[in-house]
């Protein structure tokens, strides 16, 4: 993925997270502690504050710097997890799918978590799987992203049937069933926004 496209994706993620502060926080307060939206929004605000000064030598460096700002400025569980994800994506090289796989491995390692634990992984992994298969089938980036967003949304919605095994929500055990995971839903919302605005941005990248 080009640096310009990457910059745009990161910026879209940041702006969407800031816009959805309240929604994400409300999702986290059903069985969590309600700080998820606030944590992401404040962290991504800080990222945008220093936006122009981020090292843009290449796509990998840009993603690593993004991850470092996030890890060092977002608190809660999300700072280390999201920061690690961006840093690993930056370090991995390769195409978008490779970078996403690296991010996923980083989250798993940092969070000692896996698919099925009712976390953002349960949206991020299906998203990546679909992106990979669509691109493998020869879809355009825009088409693949659209399909991936749909997969993320379906997977996020499906977390409602799961019992949380990681994060604050895990203390509730069975009671976590019946509501979607905040992190997974955030991934779906971000993916949808990227997909919806992909074309508009198309000319530029």
């Amino acid at each position: 993925m080009s640096l310009t496209r990457t910059e745009w994706v990161v910026r879209t993620i940041a702006e969407t997270a800031i816009e959805n502060e309240k929604y994400f926080g409300d999702l986290d307060s059903v069985v969590g502690d309600g700080d998820f939206g606030y944590s992401l929004a404040r962290g991504f605000e800080k990222l945008l504050d220093g936006w122009d000064d981020l090292d843009r030598s290449d796509t990998g460096t840009f993603l690593k710097r993004t991850g470092m700002v996030i890890a060092s400025r977002i608190g809660g569980t999300s700072g280390p997890l999201w920061g690690t994800a961006f840093m690993r994506a930056g370090a991995s090289g390769g195409d978008a799918v490779a970078r996403l796989r690296a991010a996923i491995e980083g989250i798993k390692a940092r969070g000692q978590s896996d698919v099925g634990d009712k976390t953002l992984l349960d949206a991020l992994v299906p998203l990546t799987d679909r992106l990979e298969s669509e691109l493998g089938d020869g879809a355009s980036a825009e088409q693949a992203m659209r399909a991936a967003a749909v997969a993320a949304r379906e997977a996020a919605d499906a977390t409602s049937d799961m019992v949380a095994k990681r994060g604050r929500a895990s203390y509730t055990g069975e009671r976590s069933r019946g509501s979607v995971d905040a992190g997974a839903t955030a991934v779906a919302v971000l993916a949808e926004r990227i997909s919806e605005t992909w074309q508009k941005q198309g000319a530029a990248s």
Partner: protein, 331 residues
């Protein structure tokens, strides 16, 4: 939202600035890292003791910085662990020849931030050790979680290692003492109302007029179960029924008994709980050697309380008796 707040985003920094202004001779505030530290720290002849965690639990931990307690606290936002950066910078600022002890309540976010911060500080040559506190018996099936949570019992760990470090104990000795205190400390809490995080502006969860959340976490995490409201005495019986058999505390034991308010419960009610807990323990042959009735580790404005027991021996009791000073002083 019935709160004294300006911009919710400045809730934590404004509070910290208030703490610093109220204690100009003893505390220093470093805004960049939400850091409250003793003006006389670090001292070459003393291990520096640091705790961070989410904010919203005051007086824990920023108001527990002072002589015989913490050397510094670097809290995150409300209910959010501090970013690893705060931990890293704090460890560097507090670096002492005798090392830095990082106290961590056992939550995923806190552990990750402190692990990462410690690694970075060590890479800079700062000797650090992490001591994890996990006194909350409400968490039962710990294979699915990061394990038991650290709650009000952290006061006793802070107090004990704080006292020992003033007496010159080295880092290994403090780890021994802190782990020893943590090992004999058990807590469980109950919420009568939900708390309202300033940034959310509405209660974190719904609790019916006749319900209480039994085994609640200090971030408003649901606990063991939602139950019908009960009398003060019944609630004490149920909390002790979870806490006492867990260690277990047994006839002949001498304990510290803490009734900790969660933020919205007046101290009068805490003494009503204390009274019955004291009597119930006496019936079981357990002697209350030291009593703590106040707010120590809160959950914003939540009405509720927790009960903590610490099994005392001469070493622990001596450390708990040692003098201390902190912003939470009354006089």
């Amino acid at each position: 939202m019935k709160k004294f707040v300006n911009d919710p985003k400045s809730f934590v920094p404004e509070m910290l600035e208030g703490v610093a202004l109220a204690n100009p001779d003893t505390l220093t505030y470093v805004p960049a890292y939400n850091l409250i530290m003793r003006t006389d720290a670090p001292r070459a002849d003393k291990v520096s003791i640091v705790q961070g965690s989410g904010s919203g639990h005051e007086p824990a931990h920023v108001m527990a910085v002072g002589k015989g307690m913490l050397d510094a606290a670097c809290p995150g936002d409300v209910f959010a662990a501090p970013p690893m950066d705060y931990v890293y910078e704090t460890a560097k600022l507090l670096a002492s020849d005798k090392g830095v002890l990082l106290l961590v309540n056992n939550y995923t976010g806190d552990r990750m931030a402190f692990d990462m911060g410690k690694e970075m500080a060590e890479a800079d040559g700062v000797r650090c050790e992490i001591l994890t506190i996990n006194d909350d018996v409400a968490v039962q099936d710990s294979t699915w979680t990061v394990g038991r949570r650290g709650v009000a019992g952290n006061f006793f760990v802070i107090k004990a290692v704080g006292a020992a470090s003033e007496q010159g104990a080295d880092l290994d000795e403090l780890l021994r003492i802190g782990n020893k205190v943590n090992d004999v400390t058990r807590t469980m809490g109950v919420a009568l109302t939900a708390c309202t995080p300033p940034a959310k502006g509405s209660p974190l969860f719904e609790l019916g007029a006749d319900e209480m959340e039994f085994g609640v976490g200090i971030h408003g995490e649901p606990g063991r179960e939602r139950r019908a409201l009960a009398s003060a005495d019944q609630i004490v019986d149920d909390l002790l029924g979870a806490v006492v058999p867990d260690l277990p505390y047994a006839s002949g034991d001498r304990v510290a008994l803490m009734v900790n308010g969660l933020g919205g419960t007046p101290i009068s009610e805490l003494y009503i709980l204390f009274r019955h807990a004291h009597r119930r323990l006496a019936e079981q042959g357990i002697t209350v050697g030291r009593s703590y009735v106040n707010e120590y580790c809160t959950s914003l404005d939540m009405a509720g309380a927790s009960i903590t027991l610490v099994r005392l021996d001469d070493e622990i009791e001596g450390l708990l008796e040692a003098p201390a000073e902190a912003a939470v002083r009354v006089f």
